[in-house]
């Protein structure tokens, strides 16, 4: 069959055609909203019009089969409109209140999970992992599944002091918002990568490789037309591997996962914050990484118990102090926690004012 005529540089379609009529009508004229249940909210326009949103969890990796099924539901209850959120949940946009309950029932019947709205855990922003990325030091989807099975109630029902944004990145490139999430996992390598000198010469641009190293650990090795890595300086980030596959960063024995906490991106109350190291290393332990899940759970529950209403994880820690965070969670403080990268100075304590 002949292919249709190819076009270029047309960009994405204009969104307007994808908006439910009630949104088109009230675009930019919304008055307010109410969170009715963890999986349902209603937005009210200045005109009095309303739209109900039913939010459904997604594993983000979706087979077309599942998407067709969702489309069927959206056709049935939402006039054929559906959207996805910035955290990869699915939102069914219901213009007619009558359709809300039937949609919810149908979703339940088909095994969908509703929730994620309001002060609780929403979906986990994550990356490719062993499913698709070449540098992955762990699997992302697997970790997400293992965590969310454990925290399921915090998506569907339980309330927390505020939203808790979880994220997983499968290497320090951190495709996602791990560096600014409430609680996040980031996979790390822990071994100096062996260099395949022969391949380096063939497939890599040596100056680029040298420049790629954050700690200047790489020097040229002119004899071998390759490079050498200073073992003292290498912190296994894998950036050299990103630009030069002949440097073999992946190691089943050395790869694992760190937990970082306290980041956020919004500016409510306090400015955006970076996540900071809570636990430097857990061995990869698929399929369910039980120790990591347990550690995250401890952090989450300590926060749930200890934080004030509306405090994000980072705000809670800022109030109680990091020394209290380690005490209350029982996490071990190690040499890895002390910054030794460029900006160490701003992380060190400059006063005797800490808690014992």
């Amino acid at each position: 069959m002949a292919l249709p005529k190819r076009q270029t540089d047309i960009g994405p379609p204009h969104f307007k055609q994808f908006l439910p009529p009630v949104i088109q009508k009230n675009y930019g004229k919304w008055k307010g909203h109410d969170i009715l249940t963890p999986g349902l909210m209603v937005h009210v326009a200045q005109s009095g019009d309303k739209i109900w949103t039913v939010r459904v969890a997604s594993p983000r990796i979706l087979a077309t089969e599942t998407i067709y099924e969702m489309c069927d539901l959206a056709d049935k209850y939402c006039g054929g409109y559906i959207r996805f959120t910035s955290r990869n949940n699915v939102e069914f946009l219901v213009s007619d209140e009558k359709n809300v309950a039937p949609l919810q029932n149908d979703l339940k019947a088909k095994g969908y999970t509703m929730g994620g709205i309001g002060p609780r855990i929403s979906n986990v922003v994550h990356t490719q992992g062993w499913v698709h990325c070449h540098g992955a030091a762990t699997d992302a989807s697997g970790l997400v599944k293992a965590m969310m099975d454990e925290f399921y109630d915090y998506f569907t029902t339980k309330e927390l002091p505020n939203k808790v944004r979880l994220a997983v990145a499968c290497c320090v490139n951190m495709c996602g918002a791990v560096h600014c999430s409430d609680i996040a996992l980031v996979a790390v390598h822990t071994k100096v990568p062996p260099v395949d000198d022969e391949r380096v010469g063939k497939i890599c641009e040596i100056p680029t490789v040298i420049a790629s190293c954050p700690t200047s650990a790489i020097r040229p090795n002119p004899a071998k037309k390759s490079i050498t890595i200073n073992e003292e300086k290498c912190m296994y980030c894998g950036n050299c591997f990103t630009v030069c596959p002949a440097i073999d960063i992946k190691s089943p024995e050395g790869d694992g996962v760190a937990i970082v906490v306290g980041g956020k991106v919004g500016s409510l109350r306090s400015n955006p914050k970076f996540s900071r190291l809570a636990a430097p290393f857990f061995y990869n332990d698929p399929p369910r990484w039980p120790k990591i899940v347990k550690a995250v759970k401890t952090i989450l529950e300590t926060y749930a118990k200890d934080a004030r209403k509306h405090e994000r994880v980072g705000e809670w820690i800022d109030r109680i102090g990091w020394e209290s965070f380690f005490k209350k969670t029982g996490l071990e403080f190690t040499f890895q926690h002390i910054d030794d990268f460029t900006f160490m100075r701003d992380t060190m304590r400059t006063a005797s004012t800490f808690k014992w």
Binding site: P4, R6, T8, D9, I10, G11, P12, P13, H14, F15, F18, Y27, G28, W30, K31, G32, H43, A57, P59, R60, L62, A63, T64, T66, I67, Y68, C71, Y81, F84, N88, Y112, W130, H132, H134, G135, K145, A146, D149, Y152, V172, N173, M174, C175, A177, H179, T208, A211, P214, C237, V243, P245, S251, G266, S267, L268, F274, N284, P287, K309, H310
Partner: protein
């Protein structure tokens, strides 16, 4: 089709959270690619190692971006994923779809690819997960003829994205959806043909809640804000209280500028001291709302840790009008790119470059004056540079 035994992945079909394994298995029923993907992932779980290679550049004719080449390290074991490229389709603003459009996209994907997707990628694209090289051209013909184009990758403008803003949210200070669409259209060439020294991301958030995480992961973060007072509906304040809100604990004491007061009767805000953080507005959403002039703050530079450590975006333009056709914004972006292009090294993001060169050359290049709104605090060490014109223009003023 060889059936892979997947005891480890099967574990991940247990438990209540939707399982990606189930999704892969669904696709594996009909796709050889998805089937071998399942096998290779199981093997990764078993051996605790990934088996993907980067590959040479693959893509569609005339484009340098939009496809990520990927090849299995174990093609003999998993021939279905010998090639397993991803295709990034540029999502519509706000990730809204009609079922008709979505079905169409999926049908084409079933024809050419693994039947697996990421809805969506972290940057915002509709990611199609796994196809081979020869499928790329015909697939692109099918998509583009139906109005879908590729997103960004490589050293190019990356697919801009936005919060849903005015489409469903009462707080949007500008039309994030239109801005995202319009700007994406304007810079199609920069998106499709990598000509930069590294990637450049733009994200549009309608207010300081930042529902698209712009401040942390966009080279250019456009955060909506306003200039007028916060309007108060005192009756609604009472209503919040009645519904159980402890106004003093939850609002007054949490206001970062301590510019609010409540005596049990009237809520007051000293608007001159408010920094528009959105806390009170978001939590007391029935009673408070912004008013007055609307626009956005432009911040630059956020990115992930490699090479210089993660960065959050820095305020560069405290206030800019964001109205279609967004000419002022586009001009600004062009000037930023020009300066970045002239000064950066390969693989140097704009934030890294600003750090190397300092804010001054950037501000001069884009014609922005220095203002205290750009800094959290002024410099500490007295290691400052002067230009001759500073003496002429500034330090000969009466007060110096």
């Amino acid at each position: 089709m060889k059936k892979h035994v997947t005891p480890l992945l099967d574990e991940l079909e247990k438990g209540p959270w939707p399982s990606f394994v189930t999704e892969i298995k669904k696709a594996a029923k009909t796709s050889e690619m998805a089937n071998d993907e399942l096998g290779q992932v199981e093997y990764s779980f078993k051996t605790k190692k990934g088996y993907w290679k980067h590959g040479g550049i693959v893509g569609v004719l005339g484009y340098g971006a939009g496809v990520i080449g990927r090849y299995s390290d174990l093609p003999d074991m998993f021939p279905g994923v010998t090639f397993f490229h991803t295709v990034r389709l540029n999502q519509p603003s706000g990730w809204y779809y009609t079922t008709k459009a979505l079905r169409e996209i999926m049908t084409i994907w079933d024809k050419y690819g693994s039947g697996l997707t990421n809805m969506h990628g972290s940057t915002g694209d509709l990611v199609l997960l796994g196809t081979n090289t020869e499928s790329l051209e015909p697939m692109f013909a099918e998509y583009s003829s139906r109005g879908w184009d590729l997103g960004g990758s490589g050293s190019a403008l990356r697919t801009p994205s936005c919060c849903l803003g005015p489409s469903r949210c009462e707080w949007s200070n500008y039309d994030t959806m239109e801005a995202c669409y319009n700007v994406t259209q304007e810079f199609q060439d920069e998106l499709h043909r990598p000509a930069f020294n590294y990637k450049f991301k733009i994200k549009f958030a309608g207010c300081a809640c930042d529902c698209v995480a712009a401040s942390a992961r966009a080279d250019c973060s456009v955060i909506g804000t306003w200039k007028g007072p916060i309007l108060i509906d005192q009756a609604a304040v009472k209503e919040h209280e009645k519904q159980g809100m402890n106004i003093t604990a939850e609002i007054i004491n949490m206001c970062p500028t301590q510019c609010m007061s409540y005596d049990g009767k009237e809520l007051k805000i000293d608007n001159a001291e408010c920094n528009r953080c959105m806390h009170c507005i978001a939590k007391m959403h029935k009673a408070l709302k912004p008013s007055g002039e609307r626009g956005a703050t432009i911040l630059l530079g956020s990115k992930a840790p490699i090479v210089v450590g993660s960065l959050l975006s820095w305020v560069v333009v405290p206030f800019i009008k964001m109205e279609a056709p967004f000419t002022e914004f586009k001009d600004l972006i062009r000037k930023i790119w020009e300066w970045w292009d002239e000064n950066s090294k390969p693989r140097e993001r704009i934030g890294e470059l600003i750090e190397v060169k300092g804010m001054r050359p950037l501000l001069e290049a884009i014609g922005q004056p220095p203002v205290p709104q750009q800094v959290k605090e002024p410099r500490k060490d007295p290691f400052f540079f002067f230009k001759p014109e500073d003496f002429e223009k500034v330090f000969t003023k009466d007060k110096y």
